[in-house]
Structures are given as C-alpha cells and as structure tokens.
C-alpha cells in the first residue's frame, strides 16, 4: 500500500460511499452541539419529520451566550436566554451522550469539555457547528467546523458530505525559546502562510517542537488551524496523547483500552507519505507574537514595530493595511511595546485551559494590574478547569492582582454575552480572532499568548515576556 498521511488514514476510515465527482459521505463519530448554531437544525429536523440518527454521538453544552458572572441571577438577556433554553428543550426531546447545561459543574466551552471528558478520541471524526472544531485534531482526529444545514445533515444521517482536501505539513523543529508558547507557534505559522494559506487543505503539525507540546498546547495550535484557512488541523497520536486520555470519563477502559490504544498508535503519517505542500519552521526562531491589525495574519513579534503600508507593493494588501491601522488606531513604525491597552481577556477555546491559566498566574503573582487597565478578565474554559485552578490557588493570585475571576464560557472572545469591548477600547486577548468588532463594536483586539496578555495587564502595554521579572 502507498504510504499514507494521517489525514489520508482518517479520511479513508470514514468513507461510507462516494459520488463520481468525489463528494463523499463521511461517517461522523462525535457531534458536538452548542446553542447558537443548532436551533435551526433541530427545527429543520422536526419540520421534515426526521429523527436524529444516533443520539449517543451527541455531546452538548451552552457556552456562547452564557454570562460569566452572577450565575445565581440566570441569563438576563431575554434573547440569549431563549436560545439557551431552546438547547435545553432540544436535548430533553432528543437525548444525547452527555449534556452539560448552563451552571452544570462540567459546563464549559464546547472545545474544552469534549477533550477533558474523553469525548474526543483519536481516530474519530468530530464535527460541530463552530469553526474552532479544528481544536480536536490535537488528538489525531479528523475534526472540522460545519454550518447549520450540515449540523442538520449529521443529525439526520450521521454522515457529512465532503470532498477530500489536499495534505499540508507544517513541521516545526527544534526547541521553542522560554516564554514562547503554542499560541506563538500558531500565530507565527499564520503570519507565514496567511489566513488563506490552508484553504482547501488539512494541516498536520509535526516536528520535534510539536511533539514537545502538551495536549493543551496541541489543542491551541490545532484550534488556530482554521485561522490559517485550513479545513482541519491535526497532530499524530503519541504517548502524550495516550497518557492524557487514560482514565477520562468517556475514554475506553479495561481491555477495550488496550485495543483502542493499539489502533491509536497507527494514527500517524507513514514515512515518505506525500504532502502536497510542506512548510518548515525553525522553532528556535519563534518569538512572542502580537497581532497589530484586523486579521490574524497581521502579526509581528513583540520586538517589532507596527508595519508601514508605504512599504507594501501590492495595492489590495496596502489598502487592507491602511484600513486596519485606521481601525486599530495605530501609527506605522511605532514599537509594539509602546501600545497601551485598556482591557485584558484571558480565556476562549484557544487559551483557557489549566496550563494557560498557570502560565498567566506565574506572570502576575504578587503584582497589580496597571492603572490604565480598566478590566482584566480570566474566564476558565470549563467548570472543571475552574475547580482545578481554585485548588491550585490560581484564582487568588489573579484576584489579588486585580483580575476578575469569572465563570466558564466563550465570553469576550466573540462577545455574545455581556463581556465586551466598548468602542475604541484596546484589548490584549488570548482569543483567536482580531476581526473588526469581534470583541465588541469598534473594539480593538491584539492576539497574544496567556503569558503575554498577563504581562500586558501588569505593565499596561505590551512587554516581552521573555524579559519578565
């Protein structure tokens, strides 16, 4: 047999049938559901008189709309409340493998709760009506975001119609410098290949720097594969993957565990497998990253200055840069470390896991947020992470430094709840998108790692966390 990539193997293992033009029905193992992109799908199913094919594939939670404070008061926004209650009703009506509703101890961001409960397993196809489903590829899964019509299709048929993408390898070799994280790798990759660099491709992240990442780090990296335009991001299974999964509630146990592990160990690209596109990056050269514009590809290192559009030759790109600088309220050539911030957000499906909170807490321990920082939020990715962080005393460290310690949810990553930027406010954010208005109409987002966001909160402006004392 020809050598196969990890993507080839995952694809082939899920083909139910294929049309002549290559359109393929892929079997879906895990369907993650949240309140925003599912109501129309459940309604469509009902109107057509159809039933879900296999409810045991469904793991659901409410995360996008839920408030992160005053949980005792419920959801105050009536429109958000209706959407969350609609999910409650749909879950009651159809059933699921697991549903973690608002205020449940195990509630949290859909891409955090799947993995932490062992509901995301190697070799699975994982879909969700959310672009950041690419996160789950960290486990050697084929995981991608889908639209609501496709959510309905998966509910009704347990399959998704898709065409095979190209194979792309991003190999990061060597050792990342101290203070540099998976988030910086992700932003550096996007800076290199652009937000459309992965379009029509599935990216496998490989190389010694990726092998050295924890599962949390790999999730951060795969999470941002969609910001590079990729259909999916993935990392091969290794001991780190297997050790992470052992003992999790929905992971296999006893002798089934051994069978599963034996299969999982085959989930890597074969030597000499063909990739349509290869990008190699020297890990040692990656520095802490800070975005300056309104697209994740508009990124530089903390040592750099804000780029100058006058130096860009391509007209469309130049206009894009000028528009971005105007929106961001930045001047060309100013040092990144001179950018003052108003708010800080540590959270999101990119960076809200325990490792992220530990990294941020290490930076802020014994310090206070700067006077010009109006609000610094820490939003754990799930109830379980919140409990773990509190056990470790991280909540105390954050609160003593002037941060607000909140309840889990998507929060200010997309600002569907009350957590948002006001017009013109500037935020150091550990989330994944710096689009215009993403964190609130007129808000200005700079994407950074948790440690960089924490340091910016203390200093009041961006600082190089490698020099943090």
């Amino acid at each position: 047999m020809n050598p196969q990539t990890l993507y080839d193997k995952l694809w082939q293992a899920h083909v139910v049938y294929a049309e002549d033009d290559g359109t393929t029905a892929l079997y879906i193992d895990r369907h993650l559901v949240h309140e925003v992109t599912s109501p129309q799908a459940f309604e469509g199913l009902r109107l057509a008189g159809r039933k879900p094919w296999r409810v045991s594939s469904i793991v659901a939670t409410a995360d996008h709309n839920t408030p992160t404070d005053h949980w005792d008061e419920g959801i105050k926004d009536p429109i958000s409340r209706i959407q969350v209650e609609t999910l409650d009703e749909n879950m009651r009506a159809v059933g699921s493998k697991a549903y973690f509703p608002f205020r449940d101890l195990r509630q949290g961001i859909v891409h955090v709760i799947g993995p932490e409960n062992g509901a995301t397993l190697p070799g699975m196809t994982v879909v969700c009506g959310d672009s950041h489903t690419s996160t789950h590829g960290a486990f050697g899964c084929l995981a991608f975001g889908i639209g609501t019509s496709e959510v309905e299709h998966v509910l009704a048929t347990q399959t998704l119609l898709a065409k095979k993408t190209k194979n792309m390898l991003v190999s990061v070799d060597g050792t990342i410098p101290l203070g540099v994280t998976a988030k910086d790798i992700a932003l550096a990759v996007i800076g290199r290949i652009g937000t459309a660099g992965g379009t029509g491709k599935s990216i496998e992240f490989a190389g010694s720097a990726i092998r050295a990442l924890s599962m949390e780090g790999r999730m951060t990296l795969c999470n941002m594969a969609i910001e590079a335009g990729a259909r999916a991001g993935m990392v091969a299974v290794d001991e780190v993957t297997i050790n992470y999964l052992k003992g999790l509630p929905f992971a296999p146990s006893a002798d089934v565990w051994d069978r599963a592990v034996a299969y999982w160990r085959t989930l890597h690209s074969d030597p000499d497998a063909h990739f349509d596109c290869v990008v190699r990056i020297d890990a040692a050269g990656i520095l802490p990253q800070v975005t300056w514009g309104t697209s994740p590809e508009m990124v530089v290192t903390v040592e750099d200055r804000v780029p100058d559009p006058d130096k860009e030759k391509d007209a469309t790109r130049r206009e894009g840069m000028e528009r971005a600088l105007q929106y961001m309220g930045l001047k060309p050539n100013m040092p990144i470390t001179d950018i003052l911030i108003d708010k800080v957000f540590i959270g999101s499906c990119t960076n809200s896991r325990i490792e992220d909170l530990r990294a941020a807490a290490t930076v802020v321990r014994g310090k206070r947020i700067a006077e010009n920082v109006k609000l610094a939020l820490v939003v754990p990715g799930s109830g379980l992470i919140k409990v773990q962080a509190e056990k470790e005393g991280l909540d105390r460290i954050f609160k003593d430094a002037g941060f607000e310690w909140r309840e889990p949810g998507c929060s200010m990553c997309l600002a569907m709840n009350a957590d948002r930027l006001e017009h013109g406010e500037r935020c150091a954010s550990t989330s994944n998108r710096n689009f215009e208005g993403r964190q609130g109409a007129g808000g200005r987002t700079h994407l950074v790692s948790p440690a960089m966001a924490a340091a910016a909160a203390i200093a009041g402006h961006f600082v190089d966390v490698r020099q943090w004392r």
Partner: protein, 212 residues
C-alpha cells in the same frame, strides 16, 4: 431549497480582501433561533453608523453613505463581487442566510473560505470562483459602468456580460450543481443510502466499540 438555474442581476463591488463572517453578520444577531430576517443586518457595522441590536428596528438608523451597498446605483443588486478569501472566520451559516435574505443569489470572488463556501450551496446562493484577473476586470467594469449587470448560467457554468461582450467559465462540483439546479435537499439524497450507512456503522461498532 430554492432552485438555481439562470440568474441575471445587478453587480455590487465590495473591494476588500478577507471579508470575514463576523463582518457579514455580527455576533449579536446570532442569538436568533430562526433562519430568516438577517438581511437588514447584513454588514451591519459597515452599513450603519450606529450599532445594531437584535430586536431594534432598522428603519431610520443612520446609514453609512460611503459603504457600497448604500450607494443608490447599487440598490437592488443581487450579485456580490468580492475579493479573495471571502467568508473567512466563523462557521456561522447566518452569513449566507443574511446575504440571501438581503437579495443576493450569487457571489463572485477569486477564492472563499471553505466552510462559508459549503454553507452557500445549502441555501441556493451560488459562490462562483473566477480567476483573479477576471475578477479584476469585473471590478473595473462595475466601477465605470452604471447599472453593470451579469448573466449567470449554472447549467452552462458561465458568467456573461449583459451585452454578451464577455464570457467567463467557472467550475462547480457535479453533485453541488445537480442539487442547486434541482433545488434538492441533500439530506433526502443521503438517506437514500440508509442501508450503506447502517452497514458501515455496524462494522464500526465491531471494530471500534469504544466509539459507541
């Protein structure tokens, strides 16, 4: 789903790259549990000078006169001309819902983000990929010709000038084309393969029981 066969319409040029789905329909409108009614809030942050909220009436809101969709010569446009990587970011199908609700039937761009591209086909909205040079030409012609119209023929896979002076050919997946031309619901088509899905699933249960 509404059939798509031939469509003739006015072209509106949106001359910026990497238009994301947050821009197409901002997050506050995603709280709706319906598929319709998003048109008035399409490109909300660019189209209006104030911030829209769900439930807030859109009539009488101050319009941004500089935004292309607000220019009188593009009123009634049904073909959106866009730049590369259109529809990037969030998977929200509310983006094609909003474009369709506004009155668009066709988007023309040199490239799209994958999820948005798939979502369009589910909603009778045809995303056409043309070469960058062809798109440049369309932008130029849309800028100088008032009332610039195009004729899109899905069956023939062509985009033609209304005066028939130029034709561009585009590619489209055979299956997608078939579904659009016939207005077919692909769930119904997939369910014709119910036995195959069941057989696949039974085998999977034996091979990998931990997945069930």
């Amino acid at each position: 789903m509404e059939k798509f066969t031939v469509h003739k319409g006015l072209v509106v040029p949106l001359d910026r790259a990497n238009v994301d789905t947050d821009a197409i329909i901002p997050k506050q409108f995603l709280k709706s549990i319906k598929r319709s009614g998003f048109g008035p809030n399409l490109f909300d942050a660019w189209r209006y000078l104030d911030t829209g909220e769900p439930g807030k009436p859109n009539e009488g809101r101050p319009l941004n006169p500089d935004f292309v969709l607000n220019k009188p010569q593009y009123r009634g446009a049904s073909i959106l001309l866009a730049r590369e990587n259109f529809g990037c970011g969030s998977s929200r199908e509310h983006a094609p819902w909003a474009l369709g609700d506004f009155g668009f039937r066709v988007v023309i761009a040199p490239s799209y983000a994958d999820i948005f591209f798939n979502n369009c086909f589910q909603n009778g909205l045809l995303p056409i990929v043309l070469k960058a040079t062809e798109v440049d030409r369309l932008f130029n012609d849309a800028a100088v010709n008032l009332g610039f119209q195009l004729l899109v023929d899905l069956s023939a896979q062509t985009v033609a000038y209304a005066d028939d002076s130029h034709h561009f050919r585009f590619e489209v997946d055979v299956f997608r084309k078939f579904c659009l031309l016939n207005g077919l619901d692909d769930i119904g088509l997939t369910l014709r393969h119910t036995e195959q899905i069941k057989t696949f699933e039974e085998k999977r249960k034996l091979d990998q029981p931990w997945l069930f």
